[in-house]
Amino acid sequence: MTQPLEEIQDSILERLHAGEPVDRQAALAAHPEHAQALTRFFSVLDVIETAPQPEAPVPSRLGEFVIVREIGRGGMGVVYEAEQASLKRRVALKILPSRMRGDPQLLARFRREAEAAGRLRHPGIVPVFSVGEQAGTPFFAMELVDGRSLDEVLGARRTGEEDGLPAPGEAWRRWTLETIARVADALGYAHGRGILHRDVKPSNILIEADGTPRLTDFGLALDLAASALTMSGEVFGSPHYMSPEQLFRREAPLDERTDIYSLAVTLYELLTLRLPYEATTGAELLGALSNERVVPPRQVDPQIPAQLEMVLLRALRKDPRERYASAAAFAQDLRAVLEDRPPAARPRRRRAVLAGAAAVVVVLAAAAVLRWPGLLRGDGFGAASLPGLSGAWTPPDAELERIARGLHPDAAGAMLRWIQPEIQLRHVLARSDSGRYACVVTFPLTRTLESRYAVRVDWEVAVNGGEFRPLLEDQVSFAELSGGQGGLTLPVSVRPKDVLGEAMAAGHATLRHRATVRLWPWDDEAPREASAAAAGAIACQWTSAEEGVLLYDDYPADYPEAVRTADVDAAMRRSLTPRSMRVAGISTHGRSIQLALGFGPAGPVPAACEVDVILPGSGHKLGSFEHARPEQVGNGGSGLSTGLTLALSEQPSEDEQRLLLDLEAGRTATVRLEFRASRRVALDQPGFDRYWGGTHQAEVQLEP
């Protein structure tokens, strides 16, 4: 019995796709009649699938430098040990990564910076000898330092390896402070000559055998911020060490305070062996920088002196204006700590209202829900084309596809128009631990996005008829709109001194607010953003509470009372109204349906919910979805959407077949959603501590 050649080949492809090994000899032996064709088949696969080869050898010579060996790879390229023929000296030769070579502007800038850095002469700075280029490969030569980087030192510390440096504890802290103060001296020297480092981090600080710290890669960082965060939100390179102004790419030019911040992160890491913010992706880091405070070093290691913590936290301020103004001042305070003198950094007084365990909850006497007055900008889409306040704009499928993939020529504008964000200053509360003020911007999103958008909301608030005052830089809400995320809650921290803090201290106030929402494709180098503005007023009243409060879709005037006596089912129904379900994709082979499912439009999402998707006829459960984001408790969610893959049975029932047929034919179909949801609510008033749970059923039309 012979099997047709194409059958055999196809089953081999199937195995390859599944990642299963293919025994070629066995295949040939099993099908001798096709041996020749199969041999050819395998060899063409080999040709097509030529795996990436390891690095081809770098030219053994660049200009007058003879390459000896590779000594390291860093974010800015590969470093080789080389010999400079004319002077018979060993140098470190750095070659830019290939992808940086194609851009003439970047290269020109690189050369300019390297030349400027080449003029620096300081014992704490590794000198750049020369800059050159051969066959399109730019390189520069610098002194070869015999030592190791602080990065390596940190690695050794973390694993407890012996590194020849002082043991952990007081001696290590002193060594660290002395070292960082010396690096700050070197930075101060360069800053005095108008040169920023821009990429201060442990791997750029080399420690010589005698303990002398030396800064390397001066001014060569280019715009790392622009490239360190890719659309996928992954952290490439070392954004942890970048200052917020570098990461957020603010318009104001960078100054020496960016280097001070980076050096402070390095010091923080040396002292605590961790980073100031816990974040594994760029988006998380940006979120943390927007919404979180640095974990105080003494919380990690109580042995750290309070004075040192104070100095460190000042250097780590998010707002550059609140940091040390110069590297010299930073160095001076570090030495003051060493010598046990009072540093210049003074702790800031906190208002009692936000201190300690007392938290503040804002109860809205009236909620003002503001909608977009229309799109202000966004080329190609005039305000007139917006459907206004009701009804969602549904772009034609092809356009939708391009928007979702970020390929639309005016992606941001089209996105704004499509999702019709609502901006609602609806609940204002602060929690004891993080002092949060939550405002809500809702982005109803029912389709899985393939590209990411950055969302930024700038607020201006006026209290009781006063002037509008902008919230501070680090109170700007920043978030990422991506994947199946629908509702965004953008929290802002409250400071006692800022406009919100003052309003809260007053106990009740009328807040007027203006906000601008900007949206731009996450990874655009020169973002073409679209923005829209909203304004409104709310009356607020603040009371104390321990943990948080369940926030209703629509606020009853007697809000606390409503919490006490709430009808759970009614609350669930309000908060879990499915907005829409759309079929994102159908794969008949896998017998699966991809769904985008949205709740909302703006109901608070319970802390945890499960949703079953059920066929109404047979009661067959197509799939289920679980959602839990305990961190949102008390903040008030604002809706969510998700992508869901539903698998059909191996032997599809009549019901399932009909569903598939309907969807494939572009007809709408009906499924039943069953929710189970729960959320814990704890207020510090008696009778407010209760567990909420509820179920709710809803019939939803599946739209193809």
Binding site: L13, L16, V47, E49, P54, S98, R99, L106, E450, D524
Partner: protein, 192 residues
């Protein structure tokens, strides 16, 4: 349990060598996919190898978010990320900039490129694409969808509006044709 599922499980548990093995089984095809998926305007600016590198890095870091459904779904997932990377690079090039940092924290073995190797690699992209484009009828489409994109037989059949046996035949003939074309590239008939 199939070997690949086991490897995937181990990879998710943080086993680096399992992930390397898994990736090694797919990266050649993925690279070919990238070569074939990159539009002409991109080929001169960005190396398929670089995009492969970025794709694998994202995959390695986002392994948690992969929801396996069916045997070929891991490869399809990789293809999805790769496609995304192509779009990203295209936008970067259009915006006149593409200065994405090469990740260097050792997650995935580095594929660095020397100056001299660059031209050869670009050439390979061009050759594969041209060969695919020269395939008669729907063979090229069938090869791209079924083989390079890892789509299922049923899906390919639907996309090509033909039967499943017809897809198998198209792929088989297409690959045989490719073997001839790649062995013996056509004379450069383009002027310039």
């Amino acid at each position: 349990m199939a070997e690949s599922s086991y490897l995937l499980q181990r990879s998710r548990d943080g086993d680096r060598s399992a992930l390397d093995t898994l990736i090694a089984r797919h990266q050649g095809r993925l690279l070919a996919f990238l070569r074939a998926a990159m539009p002409a305007g991109l080929r001169g600016r960005v190396l398929a190898e670089d995009l492969l590198q970025e794709t694998l890095l994202v995959a390695a870091r986002r392994l948690d978010s992969f929801e396996g459904r069916g045997p070929a779904s891991f490869y399809r997932w990789l293809v999805g990320i790769a496609r995304f990377k192509v779009a990203e690079a295209q936008r970067g090039v259009r915006a006149g900039k593409r200065a994405c940092e090469t990740p260097l924290r050792g997650e995935v073995a580095m594929v660095q490129t020397s100056v001299s190797g660059r031209a050869a690699r670009q050439e390979r992209s061009v050759v594969l694409n041209e060969a695919l484009d020269r395939l008669p009828g729907r063979q090229g489409d069938a090869v791209r969808r079924r083989y390079l994109e890892g789509r299922s037989l049923a899906e390919t059949a639907r996309l090509l509006a033909c039967s499943e046996p017809a897809v198998k035949a198209l792929v088989s003939r297409g690959l045989a044709e490719l073997a001839r074309a790649l062995d013996d590239p056509p004379p450069p008939d383009r002027a310039g």
